[in-house]
């Protein structure tokens, strides 16, 4: 089974994030991490490979400087990494780049796994867009999957119901972080020289696309909190409710 995993390197939201003098995101002193749910997509791919055999191939749009972190993913058991070097953040262009790369390098894939959403910009657009570009079905927010012949049984929790969905492969499936527990690579696999398994692809696009005019700003600072001392809970609670009524919230 040939499984492709989409992995995004994102700005760690724990970092202090600043705007530069042109009001763009200041990338100095910023730490990058893999998007958490994407790591669970990789884990799920590795588990499927361990059960039925096959290959796990990572596709990522990333900075050139990110090679060391991708070596970590290879040490976990991924077979190859295709990197499209770009700092593009527009989902239309990113999906097209990934779509082209997949079409050229892994046209005979069986399954694409990805995290449910990038927690940097909360877009969650790439998997859905890719399902149209590659003309394959899409199942989102999956918490458990079982492979049955050429189909995948997906368990997902919709808002009002739990669903069991049978989807024909190839398909795009997005997973939530509850789907599995991440593994750590062994020390031996970490020191292996596997750089040749990281392949840089072209980021050329032939489409013209009009992007949004994007501006950034800091959020408004919040007014200071109104605090009540809970040493005497009944008293604090009465004071709180009094304030809520005064401020016309209740």
């Amino acid at each position: 089974m040939k499984i492709l995993v989409l992995m995004k390197e994102i700005i760690d939201t724990e970092c202090r994030i600043r705007l530069d003098s042109n009001h763009n995101i200041d990338e100095e002193d910023i730490k990058y991490i893999f998007n958490p749910s994407d790591e669970h997509a990789l884990e799920e791919a590795l588990r499927i490979k361990e059960t039925v055999g096959g290959e796990v191939i990572i596709y990522a749009i990333a900075r050139q400087a990110s090679t060391p972190s991708f070596k970590y993913l290879l040490a976990k058991g991924a077979d190859r990494v295709f990197i499209i070097p770009s700092n593009e953040s527009n989902p239309v262009l990113m999906s097209q780049m990934i779509g082209n790369a997949v079409y050229n390098e892994s046209g005979d894939f069986d399954l694409i796994l990805a995290g449910v959403m990038g927690i940097d910009r909360n877009n969650g657009q790439i998997p859905g867009r890719l399902s149209i570009i590659l003309d394959i079905p899409l199942v989102t927010m999956v918490e458990k999957i079982d492979l049955v012949k050429d189909r995948m049984i997906c368990y997902r929790e919709a808002e009002t119901q739990l669903e069991m969905i049978e989807v024909r492969l190839p398909a795009v499936i997005t997973v939530q972080r509850g789907i599995n527990k991440l593994r750590y690579p062994t020390a031996n696999s970490l020191i292996k020289n596997n750089e040749s398994k990281i392949i840089y692809l072209s980021n050329q696009l032939s489409i013209t696309h009009e992007k949004a005019n994007i501006k950034y700003a800091y959020p408004k600072t919040r007014p200071p909190v109104k605090l009540f001392d809970g040493q005497e809970p009944d008293n604090a609670v009465r004071e709180l409710i009094k304030a809520l009524i005064q401020d016309k919230i209740l």
């Binding site: 910009r121 929790e157 049978e166 949004a212 005019n213």
Partner: protein, 327 residues
């Protein structure tokens, strides 16, 4: 393409969902300011006429209705052809729906079919001259992103409870039934459904939320929050720590990797306020925090706070609300 807005509507049990009311009434208000037209797209099977009337009450009169028994169990594969047909026919510049489970599933493929831009999880829309600017938060709420568009088509999912319901002049709805060919799904087959207990509103549409975190030490102590939620008619949510410990299902997780919510009031109990959690509640109108550590970062985000032990404060709060609400 015309200067117009199409709103993809959600309804449940013959009632328009609150998030749809917000988007319809807001779009209708923008339309008055900018001279745009607004259309609604509704799908379902033998749906209650009240849904159409409610759309009219929001100020939107032109309705495209897709009727098919397959729409009772909607999914992307079934809905895309119908919605693509509506968009092709009414040629809107803007297509809006809620940042709800089905909205989040539908819009990315829909936007891709039309090779268009999409903005996810919008919290505010500004009119600038005769076009629109979409505001969202990024990087865990640390930065505001403003997306401006001139002439191109844009799809947007709008965060429920973020823009509010406007009171517009009601109009009489005119319904155009779209009889598109809907094939039973072959790729994506729903095999089994278990209905969840629906005694509480889903988190994304709740007006009041009681939320619990690491401060709750044992699984049998969650009744404290359930009692408070019961008195207030609130929905319950939890932090990642509670979910990862296996106490509650993942669908109830609030935060960056869970759900973003914007209720009128959220009461956080025993939550320290990690950035990943705060990112999920930053657009709540009024945040009330209960934590025993006065240096807890939640007090930087909260509007009101009680420094105290939740095991004492929460029952006291429940009793006081019971008293003033006469329950």
């Amino acid at each position: 393409m015309d200067k117009s807005i199409l709103v993809i509507v959600e309804h449940d049990d013959g009632r328009l969902k609150i998030s749809s009311k917000e988007i319809l009434s807001f779009s209708s208000e923008i339309a008055v300011k900018t001279g745009m037209k607004v259309f609604a797209a509704v799908y379902g099977s033998a749906i209650n006429h009240e849904v159409f009337e409610e759309i009219g009450k929001c100020g939107v009169g032109e309705i495209y209705y897709g009727e098919n028994h397959l729409f009772l169990m909607p999914n992307v594969e079934i809905l895309l052809p119908f919605l693509a047909e509506v968009i092709t026919e009414c040629r809107p510049q803007f297509v809006f729906t809620g940042n709800t489970p089905i909205g989040k599933d539908l819009l990315p493929p829909m936007a891709q079919i039309f090779s268009s831009e999409m903005v996810s999880d919008v919290i505010q829309i500004n009119t600038i001259h005769d076009s629109l600017q979409f505001i969202k938060t990024i990087f865990g709420g640390k930065i505001i992103e403003m997306n401006g568009y001139k002439k191109q088509r844009v799809f947007a999912t709008i965060r429920p409870n973020a823009i509010g319901i406007r009171n517009n002049m009601a109009v009489i709805p005119s319904i155009k039934v779209i009889k598109s060919q809907v094939n039973p799904p072959i790729n994506y087959i729903l095999k089994e459904v278990v209905k969840k207990n629906q005694s509480r509103k889903p988190l994304y549409e709740a007006e009041i939320i009681v939320c619990g975190g690491r401060g709750i030490k044992r699984s049998e102590d969650f009744f404290l929050l359930e009692e408070l939620a019961g008195v207030l008619g609130a929905s319950l949510g939890y932090t990642r720590a509670v979910i990862d410990a296996g106490f509650k299902p993942r669908s109830l997780q609030i935060g960056q990797t869970g759900k973003t919510v914007s209720p009128k009031i959220i009461i956080t109990c025993g939550i320290s306020g990690a950035i990943q959690f705060v990112a999920g509640i930053s657009t709540a109108q009024h945040i009330i925090a209960i934590n025993k550590d006065q240096r807890a970062t939640i007090f930087k985000t909260a509007h009101y706070g009680i420094i105290g032990d939740l095991y004492q404060v929460v029952p006291a709060l429940t009793d006081e609300f019971k008293r003033i609400l006469n329950k």
